[in-house]
């Protein structure tokens, strides 16, 4: 089964996202910030990452930059999922290699449509 790592410092968001993404046929793992996510990826690269922007320890964009420098770090398809909803953030995410970008709040339709855009479905 394909794995999706959900990275968000809110346990509630992780829980909601987990339910939606499991329903789309992924196995879901969780991380509470960028550092935790990085440790997870070094152990085992997921196919997909749903990534928050603002988090303690290491934020989403720094995590993504670091991820792409890791061995095999080009492989995961990264979908941002954040309250940051201006073009500067979106363009920065795209230039760092994010495939899609979800602006919170989200629902299952949006996640599904964005995963489809990112060719994850």
């Amino acid at each position: 089964m394909r794995t999706c790592l959900v990275v968000d410092d809110s346990r509630v968001i992780r829980k909601v996202a987990r339910r939606i993404i499991e329903e789309m046929g992924f196995e879901v793992a969780e991380a509470g910030d960028g550092l935790e996510a990085l440790a997870w990826c070094r152990a085992s690269m997921p196919e997909a990452i749903l990534l928050d922007w603002n988090m303690p320890a290491m934020n989403g964009i720094d995590f993504l930059r670091q991820l792409r420098r890791e061995r095999g770090g080009d492989n995961p398809t990264v979908v941002f999922c954040t309250v940051e909803n201006d073009l500067d953030h979106i363009r920065e995410a795209l230039s760092c290699g994010a495939a899609e970008y979800i602006m919170k709040p989200f629902d299952s339709d949006i996640v599904q449509s964005k995963f489809a855009q990112a060719k994850l479905l």
Binding site: N85, D86, L87, I90, R91, L94, E100, Y101, I102, M103, F106, D109, I110, S113, K114, Q117
Partner: protein
């Protein structure tokens, strides 16, 4: 709502726009009409309908029809169909073009504009050949309110996250307060007009592509057949009619052959004979 009120609504919709209202779907009718009643200053749907019925208020009746006509819409709905437009249909139309004759596209039943704007984005991405011959896009809808919204080119965060890839949002939109504004360049590619597909269509002819997706399925069989016939009359020889990818309408007029998801091509000879 009571049965006679539902029946009144159904009859008004049928007569004005050929729209079929299922009298069993009370919940749907109520959920569509409650906001209209509020907006027009009535205490309930019932009060609004009594006023509309007694005074035959055209404007109020139209508000009811427009609310019932509303359908689902989103950007780039049926993405495969838009891929085919971009990769195949538009370039082929461009090759056969004579100078000074732009490709003519009509989005019939365009609601709040996502469809014609999706067409504009697709045209933009379909290469120099298509852009060089020029493209006219017409968006029409029954609802004046929908057209006003469409023309403004302003969409909510929710709307731009349905169907639109983030790259296209970044390329074509700007943030304006809490809304997303489509670029003036793309907005300028679309003309707008109010058209009731249930009425006699005047001055609509020679379209190379007509999109009428998930609109006809909401009409009565009689109204649908008439509307389809008029749409075919408005097509250029060899033109394309695009229906919803999963819209099953039964028998289509003669001369239309399936050409992709929702796509139908009109045999050039069939039109000439008609």
């Amino acid at each position: 709502m009571k049965p006679d009120e539902i029946e009144f609504v159904a009859e008004v919709c049928r007569a004005a726009a050929g729209i079929r209202v299922d009298p069993d779907k009370i919940y749907l009718v109520e959920s569509r009409l409650a906001p209209v009643a509020r907006r027009e200053g009535f205490g309930s749907i019932r009060e609004m309908l009594i006023s509309a019925r007694q005074r035959k208020e055209e404007k109020l009746l139209w508000s009811v029809v427009e609310a019932m006509a509303q359908g689902e819409t989103c950007f780039l709905r049926d993405p495969q169909m838009f891929d085919q437009l971009r990769e195949e249909v538009l370039p082929q139309l461009a090759v056969r073009r004579q100078p000074g004759h732009p490709i003519r596209i009509w989005s019939a039943g365009c609601a709040s504009g996502q469809e014609p704007y999706s067409v504009a984005m697709t045209v933009e991405a379909s290469g120099a050949g298509v852009l060089a011959c020029g493209v006219d896009i017409l968006g029409t809808d029954l609802s004046e309110r929908a057209l006003e919204k469409a023309q403004a080119g302003l969409f909510t965060q929710f709307e731009v996250q349905r169907g639109l890839p983030i790259q296209l949002l970044a390329r074509h939109f700007e943030k304006r307060d809490e809304l997303w504004a489509l670029s003036p360049r793309l907005r300028a590619m679309v003309r707008w007009r109010r058209v009731n597909l249930n009425a006699e269509l005047r001055g609509l002819a020679d379209f190379d592509i007509i999109l009428c997706r998930n609109v006809l399925k909401a009409m009565t069989a009689e109204a649908r057949e008439r509307a389809l016939g008029q749409l075919v009359q408005a097509m250029a020889p060899g033109g394309y009619l695009v229906l919803g990818a999963e819209e099953a309408l039964g028998d289509l007029p003669e001369g239309l052959a399936a050409a992709g998801p929702g796509l139908h091509r009109l045999d050039p000879a069939a039109r000439a004979a008609a």
